[in-house]
Symmetry: C2
């Protein structure tokens, strides 16, 4: 039996946003590996071993997947959203780079609906023009990089989407983010806080940067910032396709 790894995106939460490609691949799996709440979204069945693990052990999890596949297992590594956007795909390739004996592993990445695009769809079309995706967590990069990217994105008049905007261990950074954005974009720029998108707990809140406060975001929130032309239209927020 030849093992393989599929790194699969489960989408933002709703079962109706999981692609058939991912659903079908899960039916072939012998093992599912991932962060506890994502593995909990996979239905148990005979012949399938679930391996839920804690947050922040991405490399251990990736190595575990490589080891299982080398013994013939058909392993699905699950991420929420899209596995290539601030999720497990890069972690698996990092593990291969550290453990080159696994270089010939059959690895496929199965795309998914990433949180920012589900959030944008729920709000209207705030990312309808050029945009950036930025992970605000500084677990893996210096805060100075984040700050530079925020300023470059603002000066390019990009719309922006932020992942991991706020955590208990870094309470001041999202406040700094808002300060930088107000400085670069002014107080009238629109910002949308989208929490638990596509789930029954979904909450959307659009305000101006002048009105935004750090407590509007938590770790289940994706944050969307408009470009200079982004506007409200009834209950929607959208960015026109043409220049402002």
């Amino acid at each position: 039996m030849t093992g393989w790894i599929a790194i699969a995106g489960l989408g933002p939460g709703a079962p109706s946003l999981v692609t058939p490609d991912v659903t079908d691949t899960l039916t072939l799996a012998t093992d599912v590996i991932g962060y506890i709440p994502y593995v909990a979204r996979v239905a148990p069945r005979d012949g399938l071993t679930l391996h839920p693990s804690d947050n922040r052990v991405e490399l251990d999890r990736a190595l575990h997947a490589l080891q299982l596949a080398s013994r013939g297992a058909r392993v699905v590594v699950v991420s929420s959203g899209d596995p290539g956007v601030f999720a497990m795909a890069s972690a698996v390739f990092e593990a291969v780079e550290k453990h080159p004996e696994f270089i010939d592993t059959d690895i496929r990445v199965l795309p998914g609906i990433t949180a920012m695009l589900a959030a944008a769809a729920a709000a209207g079309a705030p990312l309808g023009h050029d945009f950036c995706a930025i992970n605000l967590s500084d677990n893996l990069k210096p805060w100075a990089h984040v700050e530079n990217r925020l300023r470059m994105a603002a000066r390019g008049d990009f719309a922006m989407a932020f992942y991991n905007p706020r955590s208990k261990s870094r309470p001041h950074q999202f406040e700094q983010t808002l300060d930088i954005l107000r400085e670069e974009c002014g107080p009238n720029r629109l910002i949308t806080f989208a929490r638990a998108v596509s789930t029954p707990q979904q909450m959307l809140n659009t305000v101006t940067l002048g009105e935004a406060t750090p407590d509007m975001a938590d770790m289940r929130t994706v944050v969307l910032v408009g470009n200079s032309a982004t506007r409200r239209l009834g209950r929607y927020v959208y960015t026109p396709r043409s220049a402002s």
Copy 2:
């Protein structure tokens, strides 16, 4: 009968990448509106009228959808990829803004797998860290905006994804794009040309900026540019999660 509009993303091409949300919504539709090749991806059936239209008539198409919905039709406006990424969602909201009599229309946006994320998955994980999405077409914005965004994205060390990189009517612009990128990022930066992703015609080609030539892209190509840490690993290209 109350009409509605769903602006739906059909994904990059493979039927297995169409979400159940989109598939189920199409079964409820009375009318499907969109660019000819996208409408051709919807199976005909009794009670469903297909309205294929030519390229570059997005606002006419959007107005048609609003008019049909106001008469009680259940209209699905189809885009490839994700409708909120350089596709029909913004066009529909622009049409509502121009024709405010339609402001109370029930409009939903159904997200899809956008081309850059399908391309990234096929290549490995080149967008595994902060990245930008840029539409290189200047149909709706001055070229100077595109050039500024390229430079800001490069100076922020973002990975980048380009939509609509090249057309017959603008043959020199992608050449200029490559020149700007070489100037800002140097000749060794990796660039991936991904054509017709997820279809039987899929072709992936990763080279350095020094090796890249304009003819490597056409209008079916999405182009991915790495950040300063993006690397090859066997047959994969990936961007690590940590800073370079």
